[in-house]
Symmetry: C2
Subunit: 396 residues, 2 copies
């Protein structure tokens, strides 16, 4: 087998159907998709559907209980209660963010997720411990999984002593994205909150991703403040609004006006498409030209018992939430966990074209819709040119 520059052997996968299209072969050389591959390992694709590596656009590796015994959830209904409870729970259970985040990231990989944006908590009680844990998971999976880390002030910035400085240190030390959260309802001082967030973004030249759970007029006010700063600083394509529930509750005309402003600065939306909460719809975002992409948010943590580390599962929930039934409509849901997420998070070299990083997923399905609805075990996953899953089993 020829050794390419990357040190990885070449690979040819015969008889696959890219996104459900006509059968063809795909070649991998030096970790990238290529027009041909000499002396390569040859794998029979068996006519399977070929997808680009799946992308998790919004999750919290550091919070999960994945791989640990079942966590009995007994918490109260408000977001503030859940944040406070989580801080206590971390101590009470001696939560090992490094072991858990690695276990969850590997489970994602087994289901074909090769890139991810992970929000890592920063607060006075843990400092940068969760950022460092997530960084170590990223190092463990180096060359295989591409993990962006968001310096995320879960408990607030203004109302929590020292968090702004900790975020500054995290961004200087390898975090990729400046996080933020509900400037009014959590941090209770929207202007100072956003001053810190956008100040850090300017200082470090890094993009912004703000959790905006606020609904109705309050959420619209926060979004207006975020847009104002994004416009003034010319941060085109540099800001993501995660959740953006207010865009599901405002009158249509107000929602459309905000979406139009977002489109002008290429502001993106990350959605988990929760069943019980009004959300920005794919239809409205597509009509406005706003990139919307998908994420699970937390998986089986102290906040929520739910979640699967499988972006086809998240695509299904996006489809259910948006009433997508036709096979062609369900391709929009796939975009949310593939190409739109690559744009939204800024992952370069993404896709199935020659030259792209060889992140490939094979599933036995007739159409994209079938892959999303049935979510079969992954027949083969290639990450950065390396075979990491065969017949549903992680082999790295």
């Amino acid at each position: 087998m020829a050794q390419a520059k990357s040190g990885l052997p070449g690979l040819t996968i015969r008889n696959v159907r890219p996104l459900g299209g006509a059968a063809s072969d795909v070649h991998v050389r030096d970790g990238r998709i290529a027009a041909s591959a000499d002396n390569a390992e040859i794998v029979d694709g068996g006519g399977a559907l070929l997808l680009p590596g799946l992308i998790e656009g919004h999750t919290h590796l550091d919070k999960t209980t994945w791989g640990a015994p079942w966590h009995r959830n007994t918490i109260g209904p408000t977001r503030a209660e859940r944040i406070a409870h989580e801080r206590d729970w971390r101590v009470a259970t001696n939560h090992d963010a490094e072991a858990r985040s690695l276990a969850l990231a590997r489970a994602f990989l087994a289901n074909g997720t090769t890139r991810m944006r992970a929000h890592a908590d920063i607060d006075p009680s843990i400092g940068l411990r969760h950022v460092h844990a997530t960084q170590r998971t990223r190092e463990s999976l180096g060359g295989i999984m591409d993990i962006q880390i968001v310096a995320f002030p879960q408990s607030g910035i203004v109302c929590q002593k020292g968090v702004a400085d900790m975020m500054d240190a995290a961004l200087a030390g390898g975090a990729d994205v400046v996080g933020g959260i509900d400037p009014c309802s959590i941090d209770r001082d929207p202007v100072r909150h956003l001053d810190v967030v956008f100040g850090l973004a300017s200082k470090h030249g890094k993009p912004v991703d703000i959790h905006l759970h606020e609904t109705g007029e309050m959420g619209a006010f926060s979004l207006d403040l975020i847009l104002e700063r994004t416009e003034a600083l010319g941060l085109v394509g540099q800001v993501t609004i995660s959740h953006g529930f207010c865009l599901g509750t405002l009158p249509v005309a107000e929602c459309d006006a905000l979406l139009a402003r977002m489109a002008r600065v290429d502001m993106r939306i990350a959605t988990t498409a929760p069943a019980g909460i009004p959300v920005p719809t794919l239809a409205a975002c597509r009509a406005a030209g706003v990139t919307i992409y998908g994420g699970n948010d937390g998986i089986r943590d102290s906040w929520t018992p739910y979640g699967e580390p499988d972006m086809l599962d998240r695509a299904m929930h996006i489809g259910l939430r948006n009433g997508l039934r036709r096979d062609d409509e369900l391709e929009w849901a796939l975009e949310c966990v593939t190409s739109a997420a690559a744009v939204g998070c800024g992952f370069a070299g993404y896709g199935l074209a020659p030259g792209c990083r060889a992140d490939l997923v094979l599933v036995d399905a007739e159409t994209v819709a079938e892959a999303i609805v049935r979510r079969p075990a992954r027949r083969l996953v290639v990450a950065g040119g390396r075979v990491v899953v065969r017949d549903g089993i992680l082999v790295v």
Copy 2:
């Protein structure tokens, strides 16, 4: 092994935790749960969670493509389009309602569903063909799965020639429940529609189950007409409203007033808890004393690509839709596919007490919530006293 009256051997399952409680043994004699079982087969439960047989409260066995090649969904967005398209699709694909319904029912059984309410289409183009197909599936699974059949006028009664007479014949020939659908928006003549439905219920002495998708004031009007007839005829505990989306869209006071009237005549609600549609909530129904239970509606048919023949999966969707996060809250979701569904559909001899029909499900999970969230393969399923699933594999 001793042979009991039923011809079935006795069974003892050691070391199981009923609904997550303390470990105990469960005995089966003559197809029923018993205080002891002599000379029985002994199965090691391994400390698994023991649930009563799961109940599917609202599905359409006759429509499914389960077990057939993937159906590419290309239909339009309105309910009327979907109904018309389905009539064409049945002919174009030479749909085999008997083979498909049996395949789907067996898949439900493999996941521990032992009782079910199945709506079978009746319209001028198929007559009673789907009713008979569902009846043959019921016969094939006799003694194992308890299937109620609803004579369901999918395309309407008043607006479709001969459907009232066909429903009459179906009910005389073994259908268990009188169906109905959107008296205003589909049948376009609410009073005559309900006259037929309640007339057939009186004539045959059988319960009623009406698909009410109508939202807002129109749905409230139809529900008011249904309540009026239920009250006048004294049909306490005899009427189910399936879906009842209007109860998710009305102002709280109007919704509560309707729920209070429903509670007085023990009218039930069957919910699929769809992600994208306002629905009656578990909280409102529980507060009003209205029994609410769960169903999948159609699974992978010409209407929808989605669905799993697994009531733990439906319980998860009910949990997601209702924002249930705590372990104790998720027990409400389980009730929707167990005890509340037994009450709602009128299945007798249900539960884990001695004397109940021995419908038992073992899953490897710590709590009910974990079973719902993880939905592991069923370790063991007993149906009517017979072991039908071992280690996730259907053995009948």
